[in-house]
């Protein structure tokens, strides 16, 4: 029992998932259910000159057709919930259904509700809309230039904000430095591609005035909050349920106009309405990630010391400011430019730019992979310019272990760290020296072998609420738990976070089991329903275990303390004379006196004999607000062979050494790393959302957007170091995003290393065969 914390037990959520008995949103069946479908704009940017819904309204099975005119005055707009300070953020109105203009290909224009899915779909084709096309521009750098089409009348020039951060004196340092390198980096648009598309089932009871909304959400309480604004319905009349959720990766954080429109329809009709997006709809209308054009520079000394970094970033916001959109390229990006290094001089400028593309919001890692990528690309480029080994440069510049907690030039304070051992372990696992010998040999035979290192830190475990407020995040970042013990000694734990694959039904049960000395089978973790769970802020930003898990632990400790009072009373002993055996309270050194957790659960719940002043029942709640973010770190190393003729990249080995503090369940931690790494490799090698000049998403299906397949991806080798965080009682650092943070950088660094003999210093990801071949051709001076 003593080892349940730290044990790789099987997941408790799995039996229902592997037998098809789990309920995802689209599985929700209700009497009288109607089905909704959206008519979406085929143009990226156009004025709507006519909408005629008469034929659709007359079509078989159609219950209602709504356009912006029907919502007028009855609903609000889609809110943006992150307003970073001191950047003059402009948030233009984002209507639930487009009224006068459409601003991206996929913007919703009308909603059809019909008796069946097929009838709703059929009726969409009967709505007649005339558009007057206006200019489109999806590239954030180009959209920021004079003369670009303007997408919002109240945002002339399309610049939604200009944000800066830094420390030291970068301008002076770049004057003084001996070695300077610069890169132009494009961090392409990515499609999050949770395999479960988004879905919403809204059921409004006109009698009670209550709306119940099942929705694919990573954060039902945030959804409740934002839906109340969109629907002008008080929050206490909304119950949001995130049932089983089939992956999110950030894309199910935002409140979308879709669930508001579906809820509106249910409120109008007084019957339940279901909508589930198609994949092609998902690719057009669910948020995208990344989308930066970056001009970045690094400087330092010939001995390999890095002294400065600066950047100008054009970060696409897309057509509208999504829920967390503006916070990602700023707070979650600019503040971590120091990476794992001591860099005294940092200057970051980020322009958030409205474009005519799908809105950009959080995608796994959200801002931090972009930062890690540019920092690690720069470190490699700098090392090459300084004539130093890239591993040695990293070692030289790592923040030393004894300096933690350490405040970097951007002003954030890293909680704890010991970066060298992770790098050394990764290099040893991959046999760095041996590879370098093999590489030298291969080069003599005209083969392109490369090795890439990525060392990272990330800022996660979001985070202190006070900081959330200070950085303009329109929510709290504490989390919560209620631990409720039943008379028979079994336990339900209600949590504010909303896991959707990360396994907290298991890890949190392990935390509680460890506290109470009971089997995990006696504990159920309840999440995802605002009706039963305490206020929390959801699952994203690798925060669930660090923040909500801590609340679980504290609530469990409170329960245990109450049990101790009762035990002392029953044993007629002083509380101070009791000791916890691991499964029971007993008088110190007197095993025969043990009151097991089960005994005390019964005693508390029947309340026949409680100490004076102690209320019946055995439950406690806790709201945990951490004192700081957590900063996981690690080093990933990747070896590749590049086919110089076809441009194909083959990953030979991929080694990830991560430090996310102690592991409550090491198997689950490893699984999180595996998945994160493969997402990063997909980003490095094959994933890109391609738009044409007219703002059409050309990679609009899985036929053209290359989600990594089993046959394409390498085995991922994992190892760990363990450095506890001092900022939460579990000491954990979060592992959900860790795998993704630096994996793209490691892969691209490896490919550039392979091609270095040709003089290639950078290739923009994704490193598709065509791009790699083109870079080789250009380097060889071949005709392109």
């Amino acid at each position: 029992m003593a080892t349940i914390f730290g044990s790789g037990i099987r997941r408790r959520e799995d039996p229902r998932l592997i037998t098809g008995l789990a309920t995802y949103t689209d599985d929700v069946a209700l009497p009288g259910l109607a089905y909704a479908a959206f008519l979406r704009s085929p143009y990226a940017h156009a004025r709507i000159t006519k909408i005629d819904t008469s034929a659709a309204k007359a079509a078989p099975g159609v219950v209602a057709v709504y356009t912006a005119a029907d919502l007028e005055g009855k609903t609000g707009t889609v809110p943006c919930a992150w307003n970073p300070p001191n950047c003059d953020l402009k948030v233009p109105a984002h209507p639930i259904l487009a009224s006068d203009k459409v601003r991206y290909a996929g913007d919703a224009v009308a909603l059809v509700v019909a008796e069946t899915r097929a009838q709703a779909r059929d009726a969409i084709d009967l709505i007649d809309v005339d558009y007057d096309p206006l200019g489109a521009e999806v590239d954030p750098e180009k959209a920021a230039q004079p003369g670009a089409p303007v997408f919002h009348d109240d945002v002339p020039g399309n610049i939604g904000f200009t944000w800066s951060c830094g420390g030291g004196d970068a301008a002076a340092e770049f004057e003084r430095a001996e070695v300077k390198v610069k890169l132009r980096i494009v961090q392409q648009r990515l499609l999050p591609t949770a395999i479960e598309p988004r879905s919403a089932v809204a059921s409004y009871n006109k009698g009670t005035g209550q709306l119940q909304l099942w929705v694919t959400s990573q954060n039902p309480h945030i959804h409740r909050f934002l839906c109340s604004l969109m629907l002008k319905l008080p929050e206490h009349r909304i119950r949001v349920v995130a049932p089983e959720v089939g992956g999110g990766f950030g894309s199910k954080i935002p409140a979308y106009p879709d669930e508001a429109a579906v809820s509106f329809a249910s409120m109008q009709l007084g019957r339940p309405v279901k909508w589930t997006e198609d994949r092609s709809e998902n690719y057009k209308c669910t948020i995208h990630g990344r989308d930066h054009v970056e001009y970045v520079e690094m400087c330092g000394m010939k001995d390999g010391r890095i002294t400065g970094i600066r950047s100008t970033v054009y970060a696409g916001l897309g057509a509208y400011a999504s829920t967390a959109g503006p916070g990602i390229p700023t707070i979650l990006h600019g503040l971590v430019y120091s990476g794992a290094y001591e860099i005294p001089h940092i200057a970051v400028t980020v322009h958030g730019v409205y474009t005519s593309g799908t809105p950009i919001d959080a995608y796994r890692g959200a801002g931090r992979p972009e930062a890690a990528y540019l920092v690690e690309r720069l470190v490699d480029t700098f090392a090459r310019a300084a004539g130093k080994d890239p591993a040695a440069v990293r070692h030289l510049n790592f923040i030393p272990k004894e300096k933690f907690p350490h405040t970097v030039a951007t002003g954030v304070t890293y909680d704890s760290g010991d970066y060298g051992p992770a790098l050394d372990k990764a290099l040893a696992l991959i046999d760095y020296e041996g590879f370098r010998r093999r590489q030298a040999e291969a080069r003599t035979q005209g083969k392109y072998l490369g090795i890439g290192i990525g060392s990272y830190i990330e800022i996660c475990g979001l985070g202190p609420s006070q900081v959330a407020g200070a950085v303009g995040f329109g929510a709290g970042l504490y989390d919560s738990a209620i631990v409720r013990v039943y008379p028979t000694g079994v336990v339900r734990v209600y949590i504010g976070a909303s896991p959707h694959g990360q396994g907290e039904e298991t890890t949190f049960a392990q935390v509680v089991a460890q506290e109470f000395g009971i089997p995990v089978e006696n504990i159920e973790i309840v999440h995802g329903d605002t009706e039963t769970t305490p206020q929390g802020w959801g699952t994203y930003g690798s925060r669930t275990t660090a923040v909500c898990g801590s609340a679980v632990k504290i609530a469990a400790q409170r329960v245990k303390e109450k049990a101790r009072k009762i035990a002392a009373h029953l044993l007629e002993a002083s509380e101070d004379d009791l000791e916890w055996t691991g499964t029971a309270w007993q008088v110190k050194g007197v095993p025969g006196t043990a009151k097991s957790f089960g005994d005390l659960a019964l005693a508390a719940n029947v309340a026949w004999n409680l100490p004076a002043g102690v209320e019946p029942g055995l439950e406690a709640n806790a709201f945990f607000d951490p004192s700081n973010f957590v900063y996981p770190f690690g080093t990933h190393v990747c070896t590749v062979e590049v086919d110089g003729e076809t441009g194909e990249v083959h990953i030979e080995r991929y080694v990830a050494v991560d430090d996310c503090g102690p592991h409550i369940n090491p198997v689950i931690v490893q699984g999180q790393i595996h998945g994160g790494v493969i997402q990063g490799i997909g980003e490095a090698l094959q994933e890109i959302a391609v738009y044409d000049d007219s703002g059409q998403l050309l990679s609009g299906t899985m036929m053209d957007y290359a989600v990594p397949k089993a046959s394409q991806m390498p085995h991922v080798e994992t190892d760990y170091t363990v450095t506890p965080s001092p900022v939460n009682p579990l000491g954990v650092k979060g592992c959900g995003e860790a795998g993704t943070i630096v994996s793209a950088a490691a892969v691209v660094n490896a490919v550039v290393d392979a091609l270095a003999p040709l003089g290639i210093t950078h290739i923009d990801k994704p490193l598709t065969p065509a791009r790699v071949w083109a870079a080789i051709q250009a380097a060889k001076g071949g005709a392109r």
């Binding site: 689209d26 069946a29 395999i195 479960e196 899985m702």
Partner: protein, 161 residues
Amino acid sequence: MKRPVTLQVNGAARTVEVEPRALLVHVLRDELHLTGTHVGCDTSQCGACTVLIDGHAVKSCTTLAVQAEGSAITTIEGLGSPDALHPLQQAFWDKHGLQCGFCTPGVIMTATDLLERNPDPSDEEIRHALEGNYCRCTGYVNIVAAVKAAAATLRAARAAA
């Protein structure tokens, strides 16, 4: 223009009135309430909708229910239950071969087909066999481990039989 279609679903004859255009996946989910089979794409790529038709893994989003008339359909619900897991289901649980679980039923159905054809697949053969089943959570590492483990279990069972 609905018409009756009879399918042998998980061992039982089921007759449903459907339009010819009804996709098998929609009939399974909406008419027969077998919601373990999922829809993840439009283009026959992701494999979340994979079921067995007459023992062969098929994407039920690219099959009309009328095409499957008279065929034996096996869905994840028919493979095993929490009390009686199929060796593949057991192995996915044991090896942490799933996270959000959305793709998992389809992956397991395809793996069932693989292990019928090839009782002792290599890692590479497993990865090739699963290229029509996308998983965004696991990075496939533990899926491969799970299929290998299930293959071993099934081989042992066959040897014992």
